[in-house]
Amino acid sequence: MKFIISRYNPEIDQDPYDQTLELDDALLFPDSMLLDALHLLREQDPSLAYRSSCQEGVCGSDGMNVNGKNRLSCVTSLSELGQTVTLRPLPGLPIIKDLIIDMTLFYKQYKAVKPYLESLPLDLEKEHLQSPEERAKLDGSYECIMCGCCSTSCPSFWWNPDQFAGPAALLAAKRFVVDSRDIKHIDRLKELDSATTTFRCRHIQNCTDACPKGLVPSRAIQELKSIMVKDL
């Protein structure tokens, strides 16, 4: 199998360049994942840099652009990628080395939506009650693993990563806006009601196409907007 990998070492290279690496097919199995192949490639060249950890799609470390689409390498089956695989770092953020990007702006946007529950103080003898229906409203947003595949596929985020929250942060924002336990509902909506933070989303839906967890950030953003219209 052939891998065209974007390489960049800031200590040596002016710019990223493509390097073609080959893997002996005998080393691969029908159920090998892309991450397995990357580990084998790193055995050939220990300087090859990519992040990875859990190897099962829950930690969100190994987002990368695979044949033009943002994916997690550990849950991407090699068999669906063809004989030549092109790997690039997630687009739109600075590259640190090879397939590793600097996600500072992505995390800053997440933090800016105040992604934490603010509820009425309650003594520790009790839990907040929440009906299964109220709890079901969190499904589809709390599962986000912050891999960045969505935000780095979004043209609005590419243009204004410092101003537009991006789909991941907006998904987190929505998770707290709809949490029946949260008491900052209106404050949250007011802060999100901005031409750049939220409304820079143009519903291109790349985010939904990219999400490796099958979440639908584009719909969450639409819902967020309609809650604003209703409640503000």
Binding site: P46, G57, C59, E127
Partner: protein, 593 residues
């Protein structure tokens, strides 16, 4: 280039190393209490392995049936095969309800019962009335409880403004002129720059080390870095022979299939379609303790009743569970089965086999979270300045076998408790940073050792790691005996020698993963030694430590903890605590399920 004994220094009241649930609960407390605290993590915090915990966290909330912490304590002691310290287990189970409600207050999206309370499911080894009917004690957020807890704790840390050092690697503990732990040398993975973080209170929360075995449910980051640091500092590791092999890992690959699957009604079947757990645990069947179920699967496969072309796994059948239950409560399991096995468990059984999951042993601590080590008279004394919590610690609440749902509990209970211990110490005596001299010689030698180049050496870090994992799997797996362990000890000597001579090939400074893997491998090899030496010493079977040549538990000789020291691979012992403070002692008896 060569490292000299000079690095930039930053000072803190307290340092937390490791951003999993334990570290994150501790840093939250320390930050809230107003202490200048740094959280150091080799990955971005939400990548920590707590994120992968699935099934839930135990607490006798009594939301489904009446429940008592005393019953939870009894189950945990029995589950530990009586090696767990009863005072520590008592404390954990007493704290459980409050700490789970606190998690709920932090925003954890627990699944809910119709009355709005936290959903609780059945899990293995959990009973009502001291061993009677099945308990529903495991509080769950679908089958993503670890993810839900870790993200919520991270979010609360953001709220309070905790100082994070993301993608910093802790290389070694540093001692001051009095020999007390007083700092840590860290490397910024982004640029390879080292610095000293100096503090009188250093809390290790570095997680497990499952990477020491070939087939495991652990993340690649689980290399036992805290354990390696503690061994190099001259302190012992406790009960390292006890590794939990989770009964249901994805066969051949290792990903975890939560016990929640059996909690929700899933059944294990062999190639004859028999629900074989009825033979091994007639009363509770598939919900027996993990060590019991793992051995049963290994026996079924060894005796030729495994499934598939190579008869090397068994089936986990959930086809009889209604679709909506699977969608609501086991969505992650369905996703893992589809991704890694190409199987929809609604239609076809999941292929499972035991896989290394959890380290019951670790850095010995007391209930306050202080690391303890025997003095020259054999009396356990706190190690000044050093604390440990979570999987890297051994307090010991899991003894010889951990019950499902007790690990998420352990991390938050002792995360909070140990932060409070440090808080008290800081209130009594504020952090002093002047007139501290740190001994850097050992760590500088270690850094310089990895600058060595040797073109004639064709060995690699990856190859040594793979060989180590194989040695451990063959020599110290689900079943052990004298000859296999003796062989493993010999092979480990060879691996140690190779480790001393191998060179890395990447000498860059930016995200040098070759160097990082070398530092990690030193920890893994040290842990391999501690495991096999301890396992070889313990001539009985207890909990997860099953010896073919010593099949019975031997309370007369072995109701005691092992303590392994790196120097000369020395092993000493310490007694098990059998006296809870608010409950009668649970007297060891034969363990049947």
């Amino acid at each position: 280039m060569k490292f000299t004994e000079s690095f930039p220094i930053e000072t803190f009241d307290a340092l937390v190393i490791g951003a999993g649930g334990a570290g994150m609960r501790a840093s939250l407390q320390l930050t809230e209490d107003g202490h200048k605290t740094a959280m150091i993590s080799k990955v971005f915090p939400t990548r920590s392995h707590t994120v992968a915990a699935q099934g839930g966290v135990n607490a006798a909330l009594g939301n489904v049936t009446p429940d008592k912490w005393e019953w939870h304590m009894y189950d945990t002691i029995k589950g530990s095969d009586f090696l767990g310290d009863q005072d520590a287990i008592e404390f954990m189970c007493q704290e459980a309800s409050e700490i789970v409600r606190e998690l709920e207050h932090f925003g954890v999206p627990f699944s809910r019962l119709d009355n709005g309370k936290i959903y609780q499911r059945a899990f293995g080894g959990q009973s009502l009335h001291y061993g009677e009917e099945q308990a529903y004690r495991t509080c769950a957020a679908a089958d993503r409880t670890g993810h839900a807890i870790l993200h919520s704790l991270y979010q609360q840390n953001l709220r309070l403004g905790t100082t994070f050092y993301d993608e910093y690697y802790a290389v070694d503990l540093l001692k001051n002129q009095d020999g007390d732990i007083n700092g840590v040398l860290v490397m910024n993975i982004h640029d390879g720059v080292y610095k000293i973080l100096q503090s009188p209170h250093i809390l290790l929360a570095t997680g497990g080390a499952g990477q020491v075995f070939r087939n495991n449910t652990n993340a690649t980051i689980n290399t036992g870095d805290g354990l390696g640091m503690v061994l190099r500092a001259g302190y012992p590791l406790q009960d390292m022979e006890f590794w939990q092999f989770h009964p249901t890992g994805v066969s051949g690959k290792g990903m975890l299939i939560s016990e929640a699957v059996r909690g929700e009604g899933g059944k294990l079947r062999n190639s004859l379609g028999e629900p074989f757990m009825e033979k091994y645990a007639p009363r509770v069947k598939d919900l027996a303790s993990r060590d019991v179920v793992a051995r049963a699967i290994a026996i079924e496969v060894n005796e030729g009743r495994g499934c598939g072309p190579n008869k090397d796994y068994v089936h986990l059948d959930i086809s009889h569970i209604p679709n909506e239950i699977i969608t609501e409560r086991l969505p992650g399991i369905r996703e893992i089965s589809q991704t890694f096995l190409g199987i929809d468990p609604v239609e076809e059984p999941i292929h499972v086999y035991p896989t290394c999951h959890y380290m019951m042993g670790g850095i010995p601590t007391n209930i306050a979270g202080q690391v303890v080590s025997p003095d020259e008279n054999g009396v356990q004394q706190p190690v000044k300045g050093l604390y440990a919590i979570g999987e890297c610690a051994c307090v010991s609440v899991h003894g010889a076998n951990r019950l499902g749902g007790n690990s998420l509990l352990d991390i938050v209970v002792f995360g909070r408790k140990t932060a409070l211990t440090i808080d008290e110490a800081l209130k009594a005596s504020p952090a002093q940073h002047d007139a501290v001299t740190l001994n850097l010689t050992p760590v500088v030698n270690r850094l310089n050792r990895w600058l060595k180049k040797d073109e004639s050496n064709n060995d690699s870090i990856t190859q040594i790691k793979k060989d180590l994992q194989l040695v451990m799997e063959r020599g110290c797996g689900v079943f052990r005996d004298e000859p296999t362990m003796q062989k493993a000890l010999e092979e480990l000597k060879d691996i140690q020698k190779r480790l001393e001579h191998v060179c890395i090939s990447d000498f860059g400074n930016v995200f040098n993963l070759d160097r990082l893997a070398a530092y990690e491998l030193e920890n893994l090899v040290a842990i391999g030694h501690s495991t096999v030496v301890s396992a070889h010493t313990r001539t009985e079977s207890r909990g997860a430590h099953s010896r073919v040549d010593y099949t019975e538990r031997d309370d007369e000789n072995w109701l005691k903890h092992t303590l392994y020291f790196q120097e000369n691979h020395r092993v000493t012992f310490k007694p098990v605590n059998l006296t809870p403070k608010h409950h009668d002692s649970i007297v060891p008896k034969p363990r049947v399920y």
